[in-house]
């Protein structure tokens, strides 16, 4: 018998979901609201919710003080570049693990994932030294590489789980039909895995966009993305909450809009191929 869901129960669950959603979203909402306040209103006690004088002053100041477009462009390059590079490396890797597994495939996958459990700061020093040695400090190329490498385990894992859902017989049929390995990947595997690849790309783009540890530690000016842009407003010499909020809003807006339009793909991506 199917579980009976009463209207009351449905209403309650919906209400609860909204409450949880709002609690999660509240800090973002508060940041956006604060960005339209004056510095004095931003720290007012009791806090002002909607009853304040709305102003765009903070955005003007932020725009004047720093070149938003340069940071944005760096974020796009770093997130986009590391994702594309990651996909190019991960598709063949995931293909081989999913369709021609060896006795050690599972171990390799687990080992790859285990590197994500290492605190990043543990390898900061060696990577910093390497960056100095190769002249990569504050360079987009160096950061694209680092971001690609830190997200690679997740990209490979996600693609691997998607590829595993594709029946091997279909690839064998393609082989019987005369497809070369390249044609098999191009005409059969990739089109069949498009939804999986799309959610992987999206998720990794967002992860790379939001990445702050490496981008803050390995950049200064030339390669600094939006994370550095936000950080530059949380200076110790004074609390400019309104301006910091304006900068944060500007930094998260693009990714928030991207996320909004790709919700469906993202949910699939976050469930890691568990839902067919």
């Amino acid at each position: 018998m199917a579980r009976a869901v009463t209207t009351r129960r449905k209403t309650l669950t919906t209400a609860l979901a909204w409450v949880v959603g709002l609690v999660i979203f509240f800090p973002i909402l508060w940041t956006i609201l604060t960005s339209f306040k004056t510095e004095a209103q931003a720290v007012a006690n009791p806090p002002l919710f909607l009853n304040f004088d709305w102003t765009l002053e903070n955005y003007a100041v932020v725009q004047e003080r720093s070149n938003y477009m340069r940071f944005l462009w760096n974020s796009v390059i770093l997130a986009g570049g590391s994702t594309i590079l990651g996909i190019l490396v991960a598709v063949p890797a995931a293909w081989s693990m999913a369709f021609v597994p060896s006795r050690r495939t599972k171990d390799i996958l687990l080992w790859m994932l285990s590197t994500k459990m290492l605190p990043a700061v543990g390898v900061l020093y060696p990577i910093y030294l390497l960056f100095i040695r190769f002249g990569l400090l504050d360079s987009r190329a160096g950061l694209v590489m680092v971001l690609m490498l830190i997200n690679l385990p997740i990209i490979v894992w996600m693609l691997y789980t998607y590829f595993r859902e594709i029946p091997g017989e279909i690839l064998e049929a393609a082989r019987m039909d005369g497809a070369t390995l390249r044609e098999e990947l191009l005409y059969i595997l990739t089109p069949m895995a498009i939804p999986g690849i799309a959610s992987t790309v999206l998720l990794n783009f967002i992860l790379a966009w939001n990445e702050a540890f490496w981008t803050l530690n390995l950049t200064a000016v030339d390669a600094a993305p939006l994370t550095a842009f936000i950080a530059s407003y949380s200076s110790p010499e004074g609390l400019f909450f309104a301006k910091l909020s304006a900068a944060s809003t500007m930094a998260i807006a693009p990714i928030l809009i991207l996320g909004w339009f790709s919700q469906k793909q993202l949910v699939r991506g976050l469930t890691f191929g568990a839902v067919k």
Binding site: P167, E169, I170, E172, A173, A174, R175, M176, D177, G178, A179, E183, Y187, I188, P191, M192
Partner: protein, 334 residues
């Protein structure tokens, strides 16, 4: 042309040998069925011929040319898979055209061949649909269509009907046989269903644990099974195998009597037993008789209308001319 020859072919997965040295020749135009219980190596053998698995030792020749090291596409064979293995993101038309596209054939020729295949298999009405929108039978037809456009030297079928319901299976069986007559191309068909094997094959290869138990026409296998395994596997219901003193009377370790070669009586006969379960098929009835020495239950095929019911006494008399005798090794005694 489509003669396939296997010479001393073996296959091992790690330390486990699944196909011991095996020789087999499949003649051009022949409909050959590999039959055997699950795990007997029949699908592996087909995949070795297809080139989807590498053979461990031995040689495979197709039309006299050594194909042992060739990749699947270069062997000129087409395969129909159990799961159909259609490309879900392509329309029926594109699915069928795919092998021709891979062969870099020009568009006009591709269109011509796809149209011809669609005509033969009645695919016209759903040529622009995707596989997901088709029924099991239609999908199977598309899979066959994709195989025939290439005009291969031989078709390989890997249990192609096992995902279909019983009625559709009989229909598709006829269609495949019709296709064989029409195309006159070598076909190798793998199944675990001996009825499919008997009805379709020119030649049956019975396999067990990777070994070929017997090769022959359906009637040869039915009338002269080489050993106890083939005797028990071919024919439905199964042959009754009797061991012990009753077999010794006929100078054999085991005697085999088919259910249809036994006379049933309510008054007299060689053996006496009690009627157990009766399977009424309408045209025939299969009676399971208990209490026959050396074989329990003993199955008898009789007419559609039988007066006997559960618990009644029945007398059985085997037809001595159609009795099969086997020695201690299970081999047929001539």
């Amino acid at each position: 042309m489509g003669q396939i020859e296997l010479k001393q072919v073996t296959k091992s997965f790690g330390d486990v040998q699944v196909i011991p040295p095996l020789d087999l020749t499949i003649e051009d135009g022949e409909f050959t069925v590999f039959v055997g219980p699950s795990g007997c190596g029949k699908s592996t053998l087909l995949r070795l011929i297809a080139g989807l698995e590498d053979i461990t030792t031995g040689h495979i020749a197709i039309d006299g040319t050594d194909a042992t090291g060739l990749v699947p596409a270069k062997r000129g064979l087409a395969m129909v898979f159990q799961s159909y293995a259609l490309y879900p993101h392509m329309s029926v038309r594109k699915n069928i055209a795919f092998p021709l596209r891979m062969a870099k054939m020009d568009k006009a020729e591709i269109d011509k061949r796809v149209a011809a295949a669609a005509e033969v298999l009645n695919l016209g009405d759903y040529i622009d649909r995707r596989p997901g929108q088709l029924s099991g039978g239609q999908r199977q037809r598309v899979a066959i269509g994709r195989a025939i456009v290439r005009e291969p030297a031989a078709f390989l079928f890997d249990e192609p009907l096992s995902n279909l319901d019983a009625a559709l299976r009989v229909g598709m069986r006829m269609e495949i046989m019709e296709l064989h007559k029409k195309l006159d191309t070598t076909m190798i068909y793998v199944t675990h269903d001996q009825v499919e094997a008997m009805t379709m094959a020119d030649k049956i290869v019975v396999l067990q644990a990777g070994n070929i138990e017997q090769v022959g026409s359906p009637l040869e296998l039915y009338q002269h099974p080489r050993n106890k395994f083939v005797a028990g596997f071919i024919g439905s219901p199964r042959m009754n195998l009797i061991e012990g003193p009753e077999a010794a009377k006929h100078d054999a370790t085991t005697i085999g009597i088919r259910p249809e070669h036994t006379r049933l009586s309510t008054t007299e006969g060689t053996w006496q037993g009690t009627v157990g379960v009766a399977e009424h098929l309408g045209s025939d009835t299969f009676l399971h008789i208990h209490g026959i020495p050396g074989c329990d239950p003993f199955t008898v095929r009789t007419g559609g209308e039988v007066a006997l019911s559960h618990g009644d006494t029945a007398f059985l008399t085997p037809d001595p001319d159609k009795m099969h005798r086997f020695d201690a090794q299970g081999l047929r005694i001539a």
